[in-house]
Symmetry: C2
Amino acid sequence: MLLDTLGKNAKSAAAVLACAGTELKNKALLAAADALMSRSGDILEANLRDVNHGIQIGLPKNLIDRLTLDRKRIAAMAEGVRQIAALPDPVGGVDKGFTRPNGLRISVVRVPIGVVGVIYEARPNVTVDAAALCLKAGNAVILRGGSDASASSICLTQIMREALEKAGLEKNCVQYVDDPSRETAAAMMKLKYLDVLIPRGGSGLIRTVKENASVPVIETGTGNCHIYVDKRADIKKALDILINAKTQRTSVCNAAESLLVHRDIAPVFLPQAADALISAGVEIFACPESLAILGRYKASPATEEDYGKEYLSLKISVKIVGGTEEAIEHINKYGTHHSDAIVTESYTESEKFLAAVDSAAVYVNASTRFTDGFEFGFGGEIGISTQKLHARGPMGPDALTTYKYVIRGDGQIRS
Amino acid sequence: MLLDTLGKNAKSAAAVLACAGTELKNKALLAAADALMSRSGDILEANLRDVNHGIQIGLPKNLIDRLTLDRKRIAAMAEGVRQIAALPDPVGGVDKGFTRPNGLRISVVRVPIGVVGVIYEARPNVTVDAAALCLKAGNAVILRGGSDASASSICLTQIMREALEKAGLEKNCVQYVDDPSRETAAAMMKLKYLDVLIPRGGSGLIRTVKENASVPVIETGTGNCHIYVDKRADIKKALDILINAKTQRTSVCNAAESLLVHRDIAPVFLPQAADALISAGVEIFACPESLAILGRYKASPATEEDYGKEYLSLKISVKIVGGTEEAIEHINKYGTHHSDAIVTESYTESEKFLAAVDSAAVYVNASTRFTDGFEFGFGGEIGISTQKLHARGPMGPDALTTYKYVIRGDGQIRS
């Protein structure tokens, strides 16, 4: 179908959905969760076509893995939708209200954004996640996933659409762009019906969207996250947090990519850290001062480039700093404003770090791996924003709403 | 100076300003207000150069008027800055906080956006307004005003910078792009140091920025505002509101451009409305049904184009509708999502209108002319957003902040 038609459909579906009650939206979500389970067979069949095609064209193993669904993964998607249904409805919330001297009563009321576009890669679960979160917040969504997962995504979209109809909502609240061409992607970035476009995927995709879109975009994703171990750190906590943030899952944006260590604690901490990292299979790229301390441990010299890298693998850069100020400066210079942590028992240093690190999520004594919609209690996320406009950090249903001013008067005119 | 240098300067000034306390920022604002007064002579001299140049190149009278400063206007600018100083500091406010089951304590804390770019036309007062609002919210700002006001804007920027230094803040919190070329404007739209770019001016400027920027943009401005007179309207209120919204000031975005009237009240209301409008010098473009009622009054037929027009002058389109639903549909189709009002004594119709009209400000029984940072009590505005991302409606200091997640733990790791 022509993109323009999808846009028009979405606009008109959004207008109806914006006024739909919470019950109706939740009914559609629960119907979708049920349908995902009862139609697992159809989903697996469609997914098998994608997987076979992927193998045929020689997709790397990790992409095939990301693409592959099984009954357990489908059940997890359904469970995710149920959790989203169980969340409070962000629409209709009143952020604040006040009365002006002239008697005008003004409230700031949360409303859906309208039409949301999502461009993502070949991950079928994003189809369900994004559709469910948008629906919860009262938005119509136009999805465009990677072509390698198109059979799966089209099947999942169809199931969501049927659930919407079953619940008495307009099926065009969820639409899929069934055209893998670059021209269509480019046109979607300029589609006037979109109130916002969210790219979800690797840095290449995000850059392309950012550079070419004329509709508002929320940049998501890349995370060069830091763990700063202050001189007053509890060493046990520091080691646990470092190993967790670096190794618990490496391919994700909230994993740590860089370790900063206070000069005074480095001689004690670094050898233990290196032991733990190397046992976990992590390759270390260290500054000259760290290398001198590490001596007998295997570590390579860090280049300037290492400090700015999102490895997404079992690698870490290590640098010794003179204190919290230098750590903050380093993080704000090389980081991606995603998630950064200080490990310290010092109140003053913790407050300094929290105030000055310019990131979406700033931690004291906890792993950066918590920056996540589920972990924050949002029931899911449509992405993790690393820009500062509109939403920052994990974007749950709240971030998919905007507000309007509702003004009640009794004949006021301006003089 | 090279744009890139301005960007770097702003970034480093912003980092310091973000942690500056409220007192320091207010001290700088008050110093700026004092300096505007004490240096009125310099400002008037610079402004005279702009005005003389404007006359020489044949600028239209209304643009010359917008450009011209006098002691009264300078005093008003200084007073505006004082009002901004008196506002609460939006930075550091906590939107919400919660504790997760694992003991992580998460707060959502308001922080400055960082570096704000403002592109505007030849209006010297915007230089002071924008700089003061950005400073209040802890942002560094890069200003680029219309070249016809450049002597004035440079002089005003200089005064603000001196005030910053006097208060002990970094003068690069406020910088001016002293290069009127289109190339520089284009480069500013892609300047990586900007966290947001706000175009403030006519629809041409806004469209250019929206289409060419790769940095996040907040669209401001155009307003095709409606007054809908329901069948249960109080006719006196309806007439007052209509005349105020249409004629109190015509060149502004919150002025009414279109009148919708319920069919049942049209025979009574329209002749009175036409009387009042025509006495005020307003030209009427009406639908066939309205024309039939208006008969003896001077009115032209409305074209499809009239309904979508932001006249910004003494003109209005008029259309009869069958009820609130049809009014809502018309407004959402032809409007610009700025400000729209219903005049009614019916509770049900008022709630219907408030819920379904998709605009930044939705009114019952009041003039759309109130959509304004001063009128809403924000002490000023950097623009009126008509997009849905980040901020909607009049943007005061609050809208110039974002948030970050501050997470306090005691060693939590993710399992």
